[in-house]
């Protein structure tokens, strides 16, 4: 195996918005990722629960973030991702890369990637792998 890239180095100083769109109340995954990103040197903004896609897009643009991570475990990923991307486009934020994490059935991955989502992270991935994958996508 070749040298593993150090996610800490690649994510240092990146501004990342971790957001909970819709009504889903499961926030532990979002908080774990937020803590891990912070430990890796990123600047993390966490929205808290129950935010509308429009609100999330506005924060992303106003705060000039490098990436948005949407955490969705309620099965509403298709609708919420569509709406968030639409809101971002309306606010001239279409170039901000968006990632999704949570409970996303494998059969739904292709559709989300097709909409423009950069990567999909699920709970059984190693945290290090999530950070490396995110860093790669941002570099």
């Amino acid at each position: 195996m070749t040298e593993t890239p150090k996610p800490q180095a690649l994510l240092k100083g990146k501004r990342i918005l971790i957001a909970k769109p819709g009504l889903d109340g499961h926030d532990i995954g979002a908080k774990i990722i937020a803590l891990a990103l912070r430990d890796a040197g990123a600047e993390v903004i966490y929205t808290g629960l129950r935010k509308s896609p429009d609100f999330i897009a506005r924060i992303a643009v106003d705060e000039d973030v490098d990436a948005v991570g949407l955490s969705i475990l309620s099965g509403s990923h298709q609708e919420l991702v569509e709406q968030t991307l639409l809101s971002l486009a309306e606010l001239d934020g279409a170039d901000i890369p968006v990632f999704v994490g949570g409970t996303i059935p494998p059969g739904d991955h292709a559709a989300l990637l097709g909409l423009g989502i950069k990567r999909i992270f699920t709970s059984e991935m190693l945290l290090d792998d999530v950070l490396v994958s995110l860093a790669e996508a941002l570099s």
């Binding site: 499961h26 509308s52 059935p105």
Partner: protein
């Protein structure tokens, strides 16, 4: 234990010490010197270490109650009838997020979530459809509902009234535990203090109106699934329980009466003996706390009755059929711990709503434990085991320690309002994730014995009918057109006035609103106007 980073490999040989997931070091051989001899007590007697009934499950097995509900009331009704035909003995209603968070289906934030994680239940007409052909006087029904629990309970009472069923015959449970929503589950609506009032109102009302119905199920399950240890799960839950007791006493409740109707709800995860001991320790500690702090001596009021869910975050998306084995082991722990009701999760439930096939297999799992294994034949069969008595004593002691930390902080309400408990839980969750990632905690099929060529999948994928949202909205609009708007407005107006007066019990007003076909969103809007909304403390 730790394993090599190659997840395809077997775990390394166990290390010299073994600690349970709560961090308790287990002796290689336990002896009588390790414990105080709780196995010599009698079940059905204070402090109830060995169970609340002298004859255990001989009188009656636990209630087999599978959490189910999705899409429209009609679709969920069909699933309930299927489960009842398969020998299920109670219903457990899963509600969608708009219903749980108090939004009508026409609200823009509701639309993407309609019917997704549960059934949409916005008004009494929907509840009538949900229970069509199901005898509410005979079947006990549990609702996993919290932020809008008082409303859904009022709707259930109204539904019984409409059917001509005496209220006193209703049996079942509403979860109605708002404190853990702020910590782990997230379906809060109002600030903590008016929410506590609403819970006290519903408990006091239910004690008289529906004396066989459990108006609260104080739940540790969600905190556990989010990342806490078994010790913390029980300690946080008992601390919340005491906060409700204090609120009820402050509102003039009689503890000997209301304590008989407090019930509890937990997860069962994989460390078998720790789980059994957790229930024995929690049952004993609750009885002692009520006795020590409030002087309760009435045995019925001291009884710790609880339901469980087997599965949750102990299930894996990888190699999903392995979950059948996990749930079977967890069910055995629940039975040996003396649970009053059990929900066994389906093997595909880590990623989706179960299919009819997986839901049936999950029910069969507990039927096999109940009817074939013989485990339920003798009360507390592990009582007297040196290891289990040792763990029971130690866990009780550690639970008291965690509760003392919360007391030192200023109590659960303050710990929640400040976000202290939430931040503590997030730290714990990160630790648990790191332990799995490093291989310290072994999860078969995920960090050990993993197959990258795994093609078992979860079988059939469950899909919600994409027409659900529009069907729900059509039905909603039609109910709004048919109802008498003058009656709706006046019942909502009376609710608003009552909400402004702390001495009023709001339940009779909510029952009236439900009878008038006022919607969940309308009732919540009235209360929000009086009380405002919870401001989530963001603390990482």
């Amino acid at each position: 234990m730790s394993i090599a980073r190659d997840p395809g490999s077997a775990p390394a040989e166990p290390e010299a010490t073994y600690r349970t997931p709560s961090g308790i070091e287990i002796p290689v051989v336990a002896t009588a010197a390790y414990h105080r001899g709780g196995g010599d007590e009698n079940p059905g007697e204070f402090p109830f270490t060995r169970g609340i009934f002298p004859d255990g499950y001989r009188g009656r097995l636990w209630t087999m109650r599978q959490y189910a509900g999705f899409s429209t009331a009609e679709e969920s009704n069909a699933r309930y009838r299927f489960l009842l035909e398969q020998g299920q003995t109670g219903l457990s209603i899963a509600l969608d997020l708009p219903t749980q968070c108090g939004y009508d289906p026409t609200d823009p934030i509701a639309r993407p979530e309609i019917g997704k994680v549960g059934v949409s239940l916005s008004n009494l007409a929907e509840m009538e459809a949900l229970f069509d052909g199901i005898d509410l006087a005979r079947i006990s029904t549990s609702f996993t509902i919290n932020g809008t629990a008082a409303i859904i309970y009022a709707m259930y009472v109204a539904c019984a009234d409409k059917r001509g069923i005496p209220r006193a015959k209703l049996t079942g449970t509403i979860q109605n535990d708002i404190l853990k929503e702020y910590v782990a589950r997230g379906t809060w609506i109002f600030p903590v203090r008016p929410s506590m009032r609403l819970i006290a109102d519903s408990i006091l009302y239910a004690n008289d109106a529906t004396p066989r119905f459990n108006p609260i199920s104080i739940a540790g399950a969600h905190v556990r699934d989010a990342g806490s240890t078994a010790v913390e799960e029980m300690a946080y839950t008992l601390a919340n329980g005491l906060a409700y007791v204090d609120e009820l006493i402050a509102r003039g409740g009689d503890i000997t009466k209301f304590a008989r109707r407090l019930s509890f709800f937990f997860y069962v995860h994989m460390d078998f003996f720790e789980e059994v001991a957790k229930f024995r320790a929690g049952r004993r500690l609750w009885a002692k706390l009520l006795n020590e702090r409030y002087g309760v001596t009435d045995e019925k009021a001291l009884m710790f009755r609880f339901g469980v869910v087997c599965g949750g975050s102990s299930l894996t998306a990888a190699q999903p059929y392995n979950n059948v084995m996990r749930v079977a082991i967890e069910t055995m722990a629940a039975v040996m711990g003396g649970a009053q009701s059990i929900f066994t999760a389906a093997f595909d439930e880590a990623t989706q709503i179960p299919t009819e096939f997986s839901a049936e297999l999950a029910l069969r799992t507990q039927q096999i434990v109940g009817y074939e294994s013989g485990i339920a034949a003798s009360v507390d069969p592990l009582g007297g085991s040196h290891l289990v008595e040792f763990l029971t004593d130690r866990m009780e002691q550690e639970m008291r320690g965690v509760m003392a930390e919360i007391d030192a902080y200023g109590g659960v309400v303050r710990a929640i309002e400040d976000g202290w408990l939430q931040a503590r839980l997030a730290d714990r969750a990160l630790e648990r994730k790191k332990d799995i990632d490093s291989g310290k905690t072994v999860v078969v099929g995920v960090n050990a014995f993993r197959r990258d060529d795994d093609a078992t999948g979860a079988g059939e994928q469950f899909r919600i009918d994409p027409a659900t949202a529009s069907q729900v909205i059509d039905k909603f609009e039609s109910v709004k057109q048919r109802r008498d708007t003058a009656v709706v407005s006046s019942s909502l107006h009376r609710l608003s006035i009552a909400a402004a007066d702390d001495r009023e019990n709001l339940l009779p007003y909510l029952v009236d609103c439900c009878h008038a076909y006022a919607t969940v969103g309308e009732m919540v809007a009235c209360l929000k106007q009086q009380w405002g909304e919870f401001m989530e403390p963001i603390r990482l």
